[in-house]
């Protein structure tokens, strides 16, 4: 049995832990509110763009934009995994990484099937098969994939509110340009204009003979498909990992609505060239915000749990301490009384 002194010390240490977890809970709660605010506002333009895009696609169903083009099937796939920079957020990261592994496994399986067919058909194209490149956001993901020896591409760490917009642009550009296979040498920061340039380059390249796709593929900077893996935020009690296809864009077969019959000024091409990069940018922004929101939420819940546990532990220890103290008092009393009795005799 532990001594009174030891138990007192343990109570003190648990109390300190409780203070820390409570503070972290409150920090997470305040960050949560800030992200929530940002997300509600960002969703406004996201919804607008989504609706507009859907309506436009109904109108000009036959229009082909490079970003909608499905690439040759089983080429390089990019998976963007949005994890947290710091730990202590419950199951947030492990759920994500679990989903990431499931995704990788699924792709690998499909690859294996494809490989058999490919082997019979042609031996040349095999080296390009089955590559999933992972782009990580957040240190936890990066460390994890390094540990298991998975190939990782770019990594974005330490995203704060101050560099949030810049990072969103950087990620979007990287993905868009990688997808189109036209990497402009310019530094990041151009944002929408740069993506628009990439589209322009892509188009001119295709017009010049359609060989660009091949040459870009040889350069190795090309992705055929881009997926995002992040924690979707539905409500305070509902947030879960979700894989979403980012590129190529897919036309949603939404048969329900009828054509709107927009007047398009100046042309469908111009509108799509402006609209799509903006749409993608908004998509990345909302995805990141949702992920951060879920992270803070997850951390808040974990820390509240920890605080509750500490409180419970303190109660138990206090009870034990009081029992021990009482026992020692009783013991002393017995000693005094029996000592006095012995002295009387």
């Amino acid at each position: 049995m532990a001594s009174l002194r030891q138990i007192r010390r343990r109570i003190r240490s648990v109390e300190n832990t409780k203070k820390i977890t409570r503070a972290m809970e409150m920090v997470a709660a305040s960050k949560l509110r800030r992200f929530e605010d940002l997300l509600t506002k960002a969703r406004e333009s996201a919804y607008f763009l989504e609706r507009l895009l859907k309506n436009l696609l109904k109108d000009v169903a036959d229009y082909k934009h490079p970003l909608f083009e499905a690439k040759g099937g089983a080429g390089k796939i990019v998976l963007v995994v949005v994890t947290s920079d710091t730990g202590l957020c419950g199951t947030y990261n492990s759920n994500l990484l679990h989903a990431a592994n499931a995704f990788l496994k699924e792709k690998a399986d499909r690859q294996a099937e494809g490989q058999c067919l490919q082997d019979k058909a042609a031996e040349g194209g095999r080296s390009k098969q089955g590559q999933v490149e992972i782009i990580t956001v957040g240190k936890t993901g990066l460390n994890y994939f390094r540990r298991i020896g998975q190939r990782t591409g770019l990594a974005f760490n330490e995203i704060r509110l101050s560099n949030f917009e810049a990072t969103v642009q950087e990620i979007t550009e990287h993905l868009t340009q990688g997808f189109l296979g036209c990497r402009s040498g310019q530094a990041a920061g151009g944002g929408l204009t740069e993506s628009a340039q990439a589209i322009g380059q892509y188009r001119s390249g295709q017009a010049a003979g359609g060989g660009l796709t091949e040459s870009a593929r040889a350069g190795g900077s090309q992705f055929d498909q881009v997926y995002l893996l992040y924690t979707q935020y539905v409500s305070k009690s509902n947030y879960k990992p979700r894989v979403e296809k980012f590129l190529n864009l897919e036309k949603t077969a939404d048969e329900a609505g009828e054509r709107v019959g927009y007047i398009l000024e100046p042309s469908a091409e111009r509108i799509f060239d402006e609209l799509l990069p903006r749409f993608l940018l908004t998509k990345v922004r909302t995805v990141l915000l949702e992920a951060f929101l879920s992270e803070q939420l997850s951390r808040m819940v974990a820390m509240r749990q920890a605080t509750d546990n500490a409180v419970e532990m303190i109660e138990d220890l206090t009870l034990l301490r009081n029992k021990l103290r009482q026992a020692s008092i009783t013991k002393e009393l017995i000693e005094v009384v029996s000592g006095a009795k012995a002295a009387k005799k």
Binding site: L38, A42, V260, Y262, E265, R278
Partner: protein, 93 residues
Amino acid sequence: MNGKSYSLKVITTEKVFYEGNVVSAVIPGEVGYLGVLANHAPLVTTCVPGELYFRDAQGMEYRYKAGKGFLEILGNHVTFLTDKVLGSKEINE
């Protein structure tokens, strides 16, 4: 002021900048400034930086500088999405 009003929503990347009923609006479209009144035909256009003007149902006039963006007119709902809106100057009539 008279004239039918319609709903205008000005959205920037970060927030909803303005939402309300207006009687008329002038928006810097890529092929030229567009005057929008109620019951306009459905239209989508890209917008260039320029001056944004609208007058609400109470006759209040608003003038702003707007960045690049998009305009969608659908029924009596007009949505203007832009990078940023600057220099608010309200003229009370």
